[in-house]
């Protein structure tokens, strides 16, 4: 089933984080962080709590403007652009603590996700011209496809806050896909999921990548990151400590020291 427009991208740099620094009142949250994300890959950012992962996320999605450095998306500088503009350009995200529109149905959540791919405004809504109706039908069709894709189509008309937590995560990913993103950022997608759900999440992420969408994860859960990432960036105290394939990261002594003290045994 082809849910998302399949357009195989050549392996080129989709996102470049170029010596980004950011501090909050004396605390250096990010210090000269640089890395490239190649199109069509799954890229992860890991690091202990307070390493600057979420700050990095907020910088890339436009919520924060970095003090120094550049964010290049499709070869354009995008730092300082507003969040909603970046979504239109194809950068979608999910949140660490699941930010669904709780009072709305599962289907409506996905429809809001399609906001940037539809265009009806106040006058269109009140006039309900034929193009508006057509757009609405098309948006619903697509939303149902996406629900099918994330496995929630049977619950389309349930209130989203009534779903169990794990399902809410999948819904949130589906909602982000509604924007037809080229780059999907997931902030700790496995947190709060049980082992089975984490497994399903891994499968889903692989399927999303299969649609030509690039993924950037901030993650704590090693079993997920090590299993599916092409490349991993390790942040520690705002700096990039290491970058490499899961294998390389797993055998990097500096990373192990930073992450777990010197307890090598418990590192996967």
């Amino acid at each position: 089933m082809s849910v998302l427009d399949e357009k195989p991208l050549p392996l080129q740099t989709l996102l470049r984080v170029d010596s980004v620094s950011m501090s909050f009142g004396g605390i250096q949250a990010l210090n000269e962080v640089s890395f490239d994300v190649k199109a069509g890959t799954i890229h992860s950012v890991i690091g202990p709590n307070g390493a600057g992962k979420t700050t990095l996320f907020n910088v890339i999605t436009g919520a924060y403007v970095p003090d120094r450095g550049r964010i290049l998306y499709e070869e354009q500088e995008v730092q300082g652009r507003k969040v909603h503009e970046l979504v239109r350009q194809g950068i979608a995200r999910t949140f660490q603590n699941v930010e669904l529109f709780g009072s709305m149905s599962v289907l409506e959540n996905i429809l809001v996700g399609r906001h940037v791919r539809t265009r009806c405004g106040f006058l269109g809504a009140m006039g309900r011209w034929s193009w508006v109706k057509k757009e609405e039908v098309e948006a619903k069709r697509r939303a149902l496809e996406l629900l099918e894709f994330v496995g929630l189509v049977d619950f389309a008309h349930h209130r989203s806050e009534d779903l169990p937590f794990g399902w809410q995560r999948f819904l949130e990913i589906g909602r982000a896909l509604g924007a037809d993103p080229r780059l999907l950022l997931l902030d700790e997608p496995a947190s709060g999921l049980n082992a089975v759900e984490t497994q399903r999440l891994g499968d889903l992420l692989e399927r999303i990548r299969g649609q030509g969408i690039t993924l950037l994860l901030v993650e704590h859960d090693m079993s997920l990151t090590m299993g599916i990432s092409d490349l991993i960036v390790v942040l520690h105290q705002g700096r990039k400590l290491a970058e490499g394939t899961p294998k390389e990261i797993q055998s990097n002594d500096e990373v192990i020291a930073a992450y777990l003290g010197s307890d090598r045994e418990s590192f996967p």
């Binding site: 999605t61 507003k82 969040v83 909603h84 503009e85 979504v87 239109r88 979608a92 995200r93 949140f95 930010e99 669904l100 529109f101 709780g102 009072s103 709305m104 409506e108 429809l111 809001v112 996700g113 906001h115 940037v116 539809t118 265009r119 009806c120 405004g121 106040f122 269109g124 809504a125 009140m126 309900r128 508006v132 757009e135 609405e136 948006a139 929630l152 049977d154 619950f155 349930h158 009534d162 779903l163 169990p164 399902w167 909602r175 982000a176 509604g178 924007a179």
Partner: protein, 317 residues
């Protein structure tokens, strides 16, 4: 479908009720419904409070009052000007104001409401000041006078019906979903590509224009307006209508407007204790049905229909 039922209900009421007092009361309910409906779009759906909505109500009324009473315009020519004026003022107010949120937005709109009230009262060469603006003409269509009673009842409720349709379509659209998204989580709404500040400005303008329309209808019904009809207490009353009727409920606006228009009237029997009883009733409603009367009624209905209500569990399938 609902609209047709509504139109039939209005029609039968208009044709069967002959007592002019009742017609007038219903006409006022209609005007208040338009006010509540507009504010509900802003408050109930988008989650942005306005404690100065009477300003736009007054703006619509004074705009048409000044144009017709002072300058001799036809009311039908004054209507678009009054609405456009409300539109422009609301837009200019919204630009800085909607950057605020929560209590601060409440304070900001409260301040604007007070400024507008002072302008209505003090600019006496135009507004007539405290003693009011007299001589606002009644509406006429050709030689047919739409002054009060049945014709005005139908005019007002025709406007209510149009406002209902507009709001209902708006709610069930891309715009309405975006508004509710802002209400639920502004952060997530922005992450969906919704330009939240722009949308908040437009919904504010939309609700202000509805208030302006209500002001126009009010001015030509009573033909005399004074600042006290558009003061702080009126703003609060509009908010109360929305809350009592039910936030984010189109029918709730009608219910809230009806209750708050009829209640003071019925409570006259309590003479000196009228306001006390009024306050107690509002408190009781908020304590027992905090989500508003519409939700309360619907919940009671649903409960009575199926005693054992179980929430669906997606993990069961």
């Amino acid at each position: 479908m609902k609209q047709i039922l509504f139109a039939v209900a209005v029609l039968t009421m208009g044709l069967t009720i002959s007592q002019s007092y009742h017609l007038q009361l219903l006409t006022f309910i209609g005007i208040h419904t338009i006010l509540a409906l507009g504010l509900n779009m802003l408050m109930g759906y988008a989650g942005q409070i306005s404690l100065g909505h009477a300003a736009f109500y007054g703006l619509g009324a004074y705009a048409t009052g000044i144009l017709t009473a002072h300058w001799g315009w036809s009311p039908w020519a004054a209507l678009p000007v009054a609405l456009a004026g409300t539109f422009v003022v609301a837009f200019l107010v919204a630009l800085p104001m909607l950057k605020l949120s929560g209590y601060y937005l409440g304070m900001g709109t409260l301040g604007f409401g007070m400024i507008a009230f002072i302008v209505f009262r003090e600019w006496s060469s135009l507004t007539g000041g405290d003693s009011g603006l007299v001589g606002i003409p009644s509406l006429t269509v050709g030689t047919f006078s739409v002054s009060s009673g049945k014709p005005y009842f139908f005019l007002v409720w025709g406007c209510v019906l149009l406002a209902f349709i507009a709001c209902e379509r708006l709610v069930d659209s891309r715009v309405g979903r975006a508004l509710r998204a802002i209400h639920d989580s502004e952060k997530a709404a922005a992450a969906m590509g919704i330009d939240t500040s722009r949308l908040k400005i437009w919904v504010f303008v939309f609700s202000a224009v509805l208030a302006g329309l209500a002001g126009f209808l009010y001015a030509h019904l009573v033909t005399f307006i004074s600042p006290n009809s558009f003061g702080f207490l009126v703003s609060i009353r509009i908010v109360t209508m929305v809350v009592i009727g039910g936030m984010a409920s189109i029918w709730g606006s009608l219910l809230g407007a009806a209750v708050l228009t009829i209640l003071p009237d019925w409570l006259h029997v309590f003479t000196d204790y009228e306001m006390v009883v009024y306050g107690l009733i509002l408190m009781a409603i908020m304590i027992f049905v905090p989500q508003g009367l519409t939700r309360g009624i619907l919940d009671t209905y649903e409960r009575s229909r199926r005693k054992a209500f179980t929430t669906p569990d997606p993990s069961q399938s």
